[in-house]
């Protein structure tokens, strides 16, 4: 048994193709991003080595720190919303009639491309014609919020579609995990007189804790490098009020011809994600935990 499961040739055969692929397509760009971060380069002409100047500039760049703060807030919100997705998934994976249909319907928005989602939410948030403000006006609120132009709420207004956009992604993962739990365990608990809530809490959740940890990491990483809807819906504005790290990096690299500085932001983002991921791992892994990620 052990001999078969330790066959070096098999291990190499199974891992090397994928490893080769990511080392060329991910690690090379990654190293280059770090390298460009040391350059003064407009992304077009020739580059000059400037050492850590870009990183020094980062420290005093207010726009960078506020975008980093926004990204971290988004990560926090995303992780918080996982509870909701988990609850929905527990219900859907339970023995209720029509669960299959509900599940399919619930996941449909995840098929929409960002282009469509952005258009949809821009209609919802439109200051005068929007669904939201028409509704608020109909119940007598006179000066409804200007969702995407008020700098104090734009960030939260944009979080909602982002979180909604990913609902399907997490629900489908949780659902698959819950369905993967052996029926016998749940049956046994039910015979012992456990309520559905107790079963969910005491049996199902611990069994899928590995998956939950994975989704926390995914939510954090996904949020920290999030870009799509912000780029389309607010373009980081007004005046950076909804700027996040990835959108800021994009602006620097592709709009203001500061590819070197943009790469430094990108590299910093990468390091930040590494640190945060490490911290999450530390916080969620107990010593006897066999699950590693």
């Amino acid at each position: 048994m052990n001999q078969i499961m330790s066959d070096k040739r098999v291990i190499a055969l199974y891992t090397l193709p994928a490893l080769l692929l990511i080392s060329v397509l991910i690690y090379v760009p990654l190293v280059l991003t770090g390298y460009y971060g040391l350059m003064d380069w407009d992304g077009i002409g020739s580059m000059t080595f400037i050492g850590l100047e870009n990183y020094a500039a980062l420290i005093t760049d207010g726009m960078f720190w506020s975008s980093a703060y926004h990204s971290l807030l988004l990560a926090l919100f995303s992780v918080g919303s996982l509870v909701l997705y988990l609850a929905v998934s527990v219900v859907l994976a339970g023995n209720i009639k029509g669960a299959d249909l509900f599940r399919k319907i619930f996941l449909i928005p995840m098929l929409l491309s960002s282009v469509a989602i952005a258009q949809l939410w821009m209609r919802i948030y439109h200051p005068t014609n929007g669904v939201m403000n028409r509704f608020l006006a109909s119940i007598g609120i006179e000066n409804p919020p200007l969702w995407l132009s008020d700098t104090s709420i734009v960030l939260f207004a944009i979080f909602i579609p982002i979180i909604w956009q990913y609902a399907g992604f997490y629900i489908i993962i949780y659902y698959a995990a819950l369905k993967n739990i052996p029926k016998e365990l749940v049956e046994a608990a039910r015979i012992d007189g456990a309520s559905p809530l107790q079963i969910a809490y005491k049996i199902k959740l611990p069994l899928i804790s590995g998956v939950i940890k994975v989704t926390i990491v995914l939510a954090v990483i996904g949020s920290l490098k999030y870009f799509d809807l912000i780029y389309v819906m607010t373009d980081g504005g007004p005046n950076g009020a909804s700027e996040v790290m990835a959108s800021y990096m994009y602006k620097l690299a592709f709009r203001t011809n500061d590819f070197g500085y943009g790469s430094a932001v990108g590299f910093f983002l990468l390091v930040l994600i590494l640190i945060v991921t490490y911290l999450i791992r530390k916080a969620t892994t107990s010593k006897d935990d066999s699950i590693q990620y």
């Binding site: 070096k8 994928a18 509900f102 399919k104 098929l111 469509a116 258009q119 052996p182 870009f227 991921t277």
Partner: protein, 293 residues
Amino acid sequence: MASNTAAASPAEEVKTGFLRMSISKLILYIILGIVAVVQILPLIWLFLFSLKDNQEVFNLPPLALPSDPQWGNYARVWTEGNIGLYFFNSVIVTGTSVILTVLLASLVTFAITRMNWKLNKLVLGLFMVGLMIPVHSTLIPLFSFFSSVGLMDHHLSIILTYTAFNLPLTMMILLGFYYTLPRELEEAAVMDGCSIHRMFFRIILPITAPVVATTAIINMIYNWNEFVFVNTFISSDSLKTLTVGIQNFIGQYSTDWGAIGATLVISMLPILLAFLILSNRIVEGMTSGSVKG
């Protein structure tokens, strides 16, 4: 939940228990129903959107019927540009990358979680870092790489890129499931004299079908809607995918929203179909009875 029924007689407890069950079930269904309606509205919105002209897109409430449905939007999308060819390309690119990603990710995850070797944690870490790089950091390095190996303007460049970038995510999702597979599975297989390859393809892959289907769905949606890599690496019209159909209607100063809506609807139908089929694969996972090999 059961705290205030503690004093009640056993008979009463059962009765109120049932009553409570059905009321809470009713509430549950009402909530599920509302959420389902909310989740399906975007589809209806998108369909109505695709039948509006540019004035109505902005002026009418999102769910209002267009006064004069612009079926011409669909006609234009069909006739202008090679939707048929783009569709074919999308299927090739998405299909190949999904299969490649899921297969490679399963192989690696199997080797990392089920086989015994010292460097497995390190290799896992290498893959995880792949999740962290922001997409826009990779464009310039990947462009120069693909042009130096002559893969520019070739489907392989996007297929390999999709595969590499989705591998880490796919592995993360698979991991949680692989860890929960009982050891007895392999032991039984080895006892029966199964080779390791046979074990993987005949036992492990089928048993992980629900999560494989889950990752396939997620991969499929990402690849189907992706356009940044396509635009960067592909220049021949004959090799482009459906997402360029959307771009076809974005002008220098104005955009034809109705036609974009029609393109979105057309390009969503196949993926909706694929989703419904694949999502049927996410069913009850293994039971101990299935561990026979």
